[in-house]
């Protein structure tokens, strides 16, 4: 039918690109999102390094603290850009009725998720770029070029897993006010036990094992290893990879079963 031909929908990839642009624009205009993704990790890098850095003697393998902290804060960037921002902004979009309105248009659902994950990817890259550049210039960190592939691969795994977990967690957040406390309430304890701020070398065994059961530790440890001159092979153990993939699969299942486009019913 002629009318149907004229109504042939726009190509999905084009819509997906439009969604990435839309999400980035929203992030740039939201002071909270900007602060979380770009400023908080930078503040951490600088303050932890300047205020009271552990001496090289107390670091595993005699590594300089900045050499450890740079990839560690990069892992924290991933948590912020892919997990915290996803939880807060998607809950906001759902509760404001933005998701419901989008669902009433021809925009395919997958392009929306593309927009979300694409913007998480871009902000991750930008914030990690800022962290590494700052570390290079001010803390004289050295890049181990042969291990940069490991760094990128570990970061990619982290981005995927943290984004999926972020979307999955939105299904458990009832309202906008609760999003930020829940996001940071889950991320910060994990980050503390997962070598993101300090090396967990001296932590009790049970705490180390507990952290290893969650996806932050394997990703953070692999990214940190990629900045260690002693690293010569893929630094993520198979159990770590399984943990990351397992959490990703579980998050995907939760999204498939529980994700909703509608705001929570008014209490």
């Amino acid at each position: 039918m002629a009318a149907d031909a004229a109504r042939r929908s726009r190509p999905g990839p084009l819509l997906a690109l439009g969604q990435i642009r839309y999400q980035l624009m929203l992030l740039l205009r939201s002071p909270l999102g900007f602060f979380i993704t770009l400023i908080v990790p930078l503040l951490l890098l600088i303050s932890l390094n300047v205020v009271h850095p552990p001496t090289a003697a107390s670091m595993p393998g005699g590594l300089r603290y900045a050499q450890f902290l740079t990839p560690a804060v990069s892992a924290f960037c991933l948590l912020n850009a892919c997990y915290v921002t996803t939880v807060t902004s998607m809950v906001l979009a759902r509760e404001e009725g933005i998701l419901k309105r989008l669902r009433g248009t021809p925009l395919p659902a997958w392009t929306y998720f593309c927009g979300r994950s694409g913007s998480a990817l871009v902000t991750s890259l930008v914030s990690i770029g800022i962290i590494i550049a700052t570390a290079l210039v001010f803390f004289h960190v050295s890049i181990i070029w042969r291990a940069m592939g490991y760094f990128a691969a570990a970061a990619a795994l982290g981005m995927m897993c943290f984004f999926l977990l972020g979307v999955a967690v939105t299904t458990a957040v009832p309202k906008t006010d609760a999003a930020l406390p829940i996001a940071y309430g889950t991320v910060l304890p994990l980050a503390f036990i997962s070598d993101v701020f300090f090396p967990a070398e001296h932590a009790p065994h049970w705490l180390y094992d507990l952290a290893s059961a969650f996806p932050v530790a394997p990703v953070a440890r692999a990214m940190e290893a990629a900045f260690n001159p002693a690293t010569h092979s893929w630094p993520m153990p198979a159990t770590g990879l399984l943990v990351v993939l397992g959490w990703s699969a579980a998050a995907t299942a939760v999204i498939a079963l529980r994700f909703r486009w509608e705001p929570s019913p008014i209490q």
């Binding site: 109504r7 439009g18 021809p106």
Partner: protein, 379 residues
């Protein structure tokens, strides 16, 4: 009478025929701009869904043999039911909406209006019954279905930090055949607010933006769920003007409301919902049979003449209290003619002469009260 004569708004819907949403000199009363169709269907003809089969709704040439195209109704709902757990929100509702028509679902909060509309929009799944919207089952209509509808939600759903232009352009980008962004903004009366962020818009302006977003995809069918709930009178008037403007573009509109004046002002036909049932379907003017029954004529009897002197006429016995006469009649024209001829003949003045119909509110309350009583006794 040919059915098509009841369809004055059956102009073909074209993507270029944009309605003027805000007429110049928008300070005029909305009531003045009522824009009633020149011919209204007689009440009896549209009382029930059974009289509404497939109807010729367009005189548009189909390009083949010059015969008018026959279009099926825009919406066909049959025995629709929706349960939430143990609660039956919609219970056996059936109705049809013709192309180009403004159909209102009227009812108190919790009557099932929004649930019904959300099923038609594809936002909710039904428990049972059949639903066809533009020939699609909205539950599985997918993108092709959503290309052709526009939805104005009860509230919100806009990004506060985007500008009006960015918002409308974003939504235009979702559609295969969108309207022009700048023209849509202008027609929504937001031309001066193009670069203003959404957060800075007033309530009435937000509603205009809502409508612009729903219209930018050039929909054939528009869903308006309580478009003016919580509005101040000015914002309501603005919204009414916009909706009335769409009538001319041939857009089919399904409206929900719990405001009687809104329905009276906008709708061609109205379905009254109560406790999940569609309890009456009518034109606003004929709701509760008020177009034909129960006209009240009253006046004060001249002191010089007792009630017994009144001429014979098609009325019940006058209720004479202190010279105040009130008559209920189904034939107000004949009553008035008889009365006034008599009064002029006797050289008396009928003081306080009034002719009144039961108000829409009276009719509506009676319908929903009856439905509530029926609903309660039935449980």
């Amino acid at each position: 009478m040919p059915v098509s004569a009841c369809r004055p708004k059956a102009s073909a819907h074209t993507s270029t025929a944009l309605p003027t949403l805000v007429p110049p000199g928008a300070e005029t009363s909305p009531l003045r701009g009522r824009d009633l169709p020149p011919e209204r269907c007689p009440a009896g003809m549209i009382k029930g869904p059974t009289s509404l089969g497939v109807q010729p709704t367009s005189t548009e040439d189909d390009g083949m043999d010059g015969a008018p195209t026959v279009q099926p109704p825009a919406i066909v709902v049959e025995r629709l039911r929706k349960d939430y757990g143990g609660l039956r929100a919609v219970d056996g509702v059936s109705f049809q909406v013709r192309r180009g028509e403004i159909y209102a679902l009227l009812g108190p909060n919790g009557a099932g209006k929004t649930t019904t509309v959300e099923i038609l929009e594809g936002h909710r799944h039904r428990t049972s019954g059949s639903v066809q919207v533009l020939g699609f089952d909205p539950g599985g209509g997918g993108r092709r279905f959503r290309e052709r509808i526009g939805i104005v939600l009860q509230s919100g759903g806009v990004d506060a930090e985007l500008t009006v232009r960015e918002m409308v352009a974003l939504y235009a980008s979702f559609y295969a055949r969108p309207r022009d962004v700048a023209a849509t903004i202008e027609q929504a009366g937001l031309a001066g607010k193009r670069r203003v962020r959404v957060r800075a818009l007033s309530g009435g302006q937000l509603r205009r933006l809502d409508l612009a977003l729903a219209l930018v995809g050039d929909p054939e069918l528009l869903f308006l769920d309580e478009p003016t709930t919580g509005f101040d009178p000015n914002a309501r008037r603005d919204a009414w003007e916009m909706i009335a403007g769409l009538r001319h573009g041939g857009t089919t509109i399904l409206l929900t409301s719990h405001y009687l004046d809104e329905v009276q002002h906008l709708a061609d036909r109205v379905g009254v919902m109560s406790h999940g049932h569609l309890v009456e379907e009518s034109t606003p003017d004929a709701l509760g049979g008020r177009d034909i029954a129960g006209t009240v004529v009253s006046f004060r009897l001249p002191t010089a003449l007792p009630a017994a002197e009144l001429p014979a006429g098609p009325w019940d016995l006058p209720d004479d209290r202190d010279g105040e006469v009130t008559m209920h009649t189904d034939e107000p024209t004949r009553v008035l003619f008889t009365l006034t001829r008599w009064a002029v003949g006797h050289g008396v003045e009928l003081e306080g002469l009034t002719v009144a119909r039961p108000s829409l509110e009276d009719a509506y309350l009676r319908i929903t009260d009856d439905a509530s009583a029926g609903g309660r006794s039935g449980r």
